[in-house]
Subunit: 304 residues, 2 copies
């Protein structure tokens, strides 16, 4: 990134550092605007201790459910008001509905920054959903506009001091995850969510290779919708099979974080804006979430 | 689209129609290349009677499963060798696995065209998966490259004469569905797949608005994973709730095509490369597929 000044030294070489440039006040170069944006982004990110992205190969594996529940579980463990969620799914933002924030909007604060919407336990949330007039409104955007939106969600929002920022990414290995990796060079790592079906496994391998290719650490793999126990008769039924996530983690040598069994209350709670982990204390699914959180914590601690 | 010629009449106005231009043989204009590509695409599409795209707001609702089963069901009803599937999910192509075509590749034929891979009953399939070295290889592409790939899948493939081409699109309302709508102006319509959960419904509304905004007819809504009957005790369990698809179709005045109940054999068959509708004759899920096909047929017949 370089910066040249308007008139006084336009022929001189721009040194790319506006903060030490003598003529920065008169400079109207496009690069100065970029420099300022970069500084704003850096400042925001420097106040967030840990940044964790949640990715998957295939859609519908429960990325947003896992993100919302991880955020709530961390907030419950002594990080009240210190957890944020960036919903980077521009076309299908689900986080607001899952946290009971439907109908809320982002409001402006001092210095042109937007305030995130706040959920239970002070979880700060930013989502495209807060900018849309209603549920039906689609966001018909190609890649470059989506990158720009994600950048603004990071740099133009008053996130404040956070211990954890969870970033819920849409499925696939295209514009949105590339943008997040580019914008957050110090991402702690990615949590990869999959379903046990073989079809889903084939795609999740791509997500693992993707993270490796772009040099982002892999915190581990979570298998969601893993087996089902009939609440009427107690029969164990593997609706989408079971064990695929563990197999992948072994095959590709990535850590395995755990399996979350199917529990109809997870869907009910998400639909009702409640996070499953905040209730449902003695369930297998809640225990699974707690184990996963423990492993993520171990990863984050071992990083230092 | 216009076309100017190289030297002979570079100052004259290009009339945009290379086929009647006297100097087209000497023309090296970029627009001539575009004209040729457009003609090739038109020719391919003119040989396909019906083009139907399968879309959804959210991922993981079973778009690819529905696509594969619709294609097979149509092939079984007197359209052997006359059905095609374009797997337009560049990042997470699932169709080959579901049709037992893993490991196959596209091979070249005369005139520089590629031959599609052929599944049971002569279903012709083109997918990014056939071009990748292995399951782990991710396609780390932004929008413009994806558009180009989809265009080539349509114009550079020897589809031949088809009665039906089903296009399996990735979730969302971004580059891929926009590209397909742009490349296939005479798309018969879209089938919109959803899950019954409210979170999924919120996103599927966006897909309906999207189709309306870009002027593509809506064939109807399919609710997948709608309720579950415990095979051990017969208890009716609504794992992801039930009835959401019908409610949306009423709320937004679009046709309702039917509900496909959860059946573990659907997942098993997909993983084993078998299409569920080809077996499992006396199941509720198969009956649901047959009803949906009847309604799609009615739509296609009423179009004329």
């Amino acid at each position: 990134m370089t910066n040249i000044t308007k008139q006084t030294n336009s022929s001189e070489q721009c040194e790319g550092e506006c903060s030490t440039c003598a003529t920065t006040e008169d400079c109207s170069d496009q690069r100065k605007r970029e420099y300022n944006e970069e500084q704003k982004l850096k400042l925001q990110l420097s106040r967030i201790k840990h940044k964790i992205a949640i990715i998957s190969g295939k859609g519908g594996v429960g990325k947003s459910t896992v993100t919302a529940n991880l955020a709530m579980a961390f907030a419950m463990q002594g990080h009240k008001n210190k957890v944020g969620i960036l919903d980077a799914d521009i076309h299908g933002p689900c986080i607001p509905k899952m946290l009971g924030l439907k109908g809320k909007t982002l409001v402006g604060g001092p210095g042109g920054l937007l305030f995130p919407v706040t959920a239970n336990l002070g979880i700060k949330v930013v989502s495209m959903d807060f900018l849309l007039p209603n549920d039906e409104a689609p966001v018909v955007w190609r890649g470059p506009l989506k990158m720009r939106a994600i950048q603004q969600f990071l740099s133009d929002v008053s996130w404040g001091e956070l211990d954890y920022l969870f970033i819920d990414l849409p499925p696939g290995t295209g514009d949105e995850p590339l943008s997040v990796a580019h914008l957050i060079p110090d991402l702690d790592g990615v949590v990869i969510v999959t379903m046990p079906s073989e079809v889903s496994q084939a795609v999740v391998k791509k997500a693992i290779s993707f993270a490796r290719q772009i040099g982002v650490p892999i915190i581990g793999v979570v298998e969601n919708m893993s087996g089902f126990v009939c609440p009427d008769c107690g029969a164990h039924l593997d609706i989408f099979k079971k064990g695929g996530g563990k197999k992948i983690s072994e095959d590709l040598s990535v850590p395995y974080l755990g399996s979350i069994p199917i529990d109809p209350n997870i869907c009910n709670d998400s639909d009702n804006g409640l996070t499953f982990v905040a209730g449902n204390k003695n369930t297998a699914a809640n225990k699974a979430f707690q184990d996963i959180i423990k492993k993520i914590n171990q990863f984050l601690t071992s990083e230092k």
